[in-house]
């Protein structure tokens, strides 16, 4: 069993994290290095397809219906409930007003697919297996938090002038959330992997297994560039809120670890559920918040989830949550 320090250094010196660091540095220094938008979209589609397909195949060969159902219920519960905790912390410890606190809370109940993919890369590096249906948990955790966030905002500003005008979860928001390209591809590949099983894997493996880690490294270079360019936005966010972006993932991960342990997931599965509970959305939730809660300021919630929590989870969080899972398994 590696020590925490060895894990942290091993993670820090992986190509994934080093490419990410290169991107952050280049972005921060305003280098003109850029990955063309179409390519970066393509890379992210590739990653979703690969992760969904592998999860589906894994489920087809090792799925136990009861355990899967319990895990999916846990995923929904985490996504619905984490924003309540996040909201309470934000209202107590920061000066964010109700719409902003509710919007930020929704981000922290939802998940970052890239963080999850990076965590599977971390596990793959160490040849640690995980339950395939954790991918389905990922897909389920994206949206419930949005509902909780909007309820939190609505409950307390019924008197506000704009409150009644925006319909709650309009058709437009529902489409944005349930039919966003990422969700459709992830869910669809998961289903195809599940239907075709090992035979399907034999067809897809040359494209989605070996190149996966290298593609992930290139994608993280791109993410680093985005984060680096957003580092200048910190001042608008304020230190108490930045601090929230660092301690909330720790609290979420702890809850995730304990819950995953309670339902009997493996070391890899526990690590991934901790990562899910710790991560914050920066694609689907911001889009939904702009449509349904326009009073909340995107210059707060996007830098917070993208430039604070995402790098924290990638660099410190993943090895830390893995160490926590190892500790729980050894108990």
């Amino acid at each position: 069993m590696d020590t925490l320090l060895q894990l942290a250094i091993g993670n820090l010196l992986s190509p994934m994290v080093l490419f990410f660091a290169l991107g952050v540095t280049a972005g921060w220094l305003k280098s003109d290095l850029a990955i063309p938008e179409a390519i970066s979209k393509g890379l992210s589609l590739y990653l979703m397809l690969a992760i969904g397909f592998k999860g589906g195949v894994e489920l087809a060969s090792n799925g136990v219906a009861g355990a899967v159902a319990v895990a999916l219920v846990l995923a929904l519960a985490l996504s619905f409930c984490l924003p309540l905790l996040a909201y309470a912390l934000l209202r107590a410890a920061t000066r964010l007003d109700i719409p902003n606190a509710a919007a930020v809370a929704a981000h922290y109940g939802s998940v970052s697919i890239v963080t999850f993919v990076a965590a599977t890369g971390f596990l793959g590096y160490r040849a640690i297996p995980y339950e395939g249906y954790v991918v389905a948990m990922l897909a389920l955790m994206e949206t419930p938090a949005i509902v909780t966030g909007l309820l939190l905002a609505r409950r307390s500003n019924a008197a506000g002038p704009t409150a009644s005008r925006a319909p709650f979860l309009s058709r437009e928001v529902a489409r944005e959330v349930f039919l966003s390209g990422g969700v459709v591809l992830l869910g669809g590949s998961f289903a195809i992997g599940w239907i075709t099983g090992d035979k399907g894997m034999a067809v897809m493996a040359p494209a989605i297994v070996d190149p996966f880690k290298a593609v992930l490294a290139v994608f993280l270079l791109d993410m680093g560039l985005l984060v680096g360019r957003r580092l200048h936005d910190f001042r608008a966010v304020g230190w108490p809120v930045v601090a929230f972006g660092l301690y909330m993932p720790l609290i979420g991960a702890m809850i995730g670890l304990l819950a995953a342990h309670a339902i009997g997931l493996s070391l890899g599965g526990m690590t991934l559920v901790a990562v899910l509970a710790a991560s914050a959305s920066y694609i689907v939730v911001p889009a939904a918040m702009r449509l349904s809660l326009p009073q909340a300021n995107p210059a707060i919630y996007i830098p917070l989830s993208l430039a604070v929590t995402f790098p924290f989870n990638l660099i410190v969080g993943i090895p830390l949550y893995y160490a926590g899972a190892q500790w729980l398994v050894a108990l």
Binding site: P286, Q295, I302
Partner: protein, 103 residues
């Protein structure tokens, strides 16, 4: 010489998330068409607005309508409440067009 007709041109720069609502309003007040420039960037009272390829949150679009004065006035009035809490710039100018029946 080709005949020219006086019209009003209204330009609305708005964040992508709100574009759909604005376009629905433009059609509802009776404009016969519109033009969309899908990616415009610049700087205003919300800081630098640039396309960020993760989501549409920092992306602006420009919607252009050329129409009779009466219709443009309705668009101006109805865009005001739609732009509350969103990035938006509305500019109206006098223009001349050929092919009157298109507007």
């Amino acid at each position: 010489m080709t005949q020219l007709y006086r019209k009003k041109r209204i330009e609305i720069i708005v964040e992508a998330a709100r574009a759909r609502a604005i376009i629905e309003m433009i059609e509802a007040v009776g404009a016969k068409g519109y033009t969309i420039v899908p990616n415009v960037s610049g700087k205003g009272n919300r800081g630098i607005r640039d396309e960020a390829h993760l989501s549409d949150v920092f992306r602006n679009v420009m919607i252009i309508v050329v129409a009779a004065e009466e219709i443009v006035r309705r668009i101006v009035e109805q865009s005001q409440p739609l732009l509350e809490n969103y990035a938006g710039i509305v500019v109206v100018s006098d223009v001349e067009v050929i092919r009157d029946e298109h507007f």
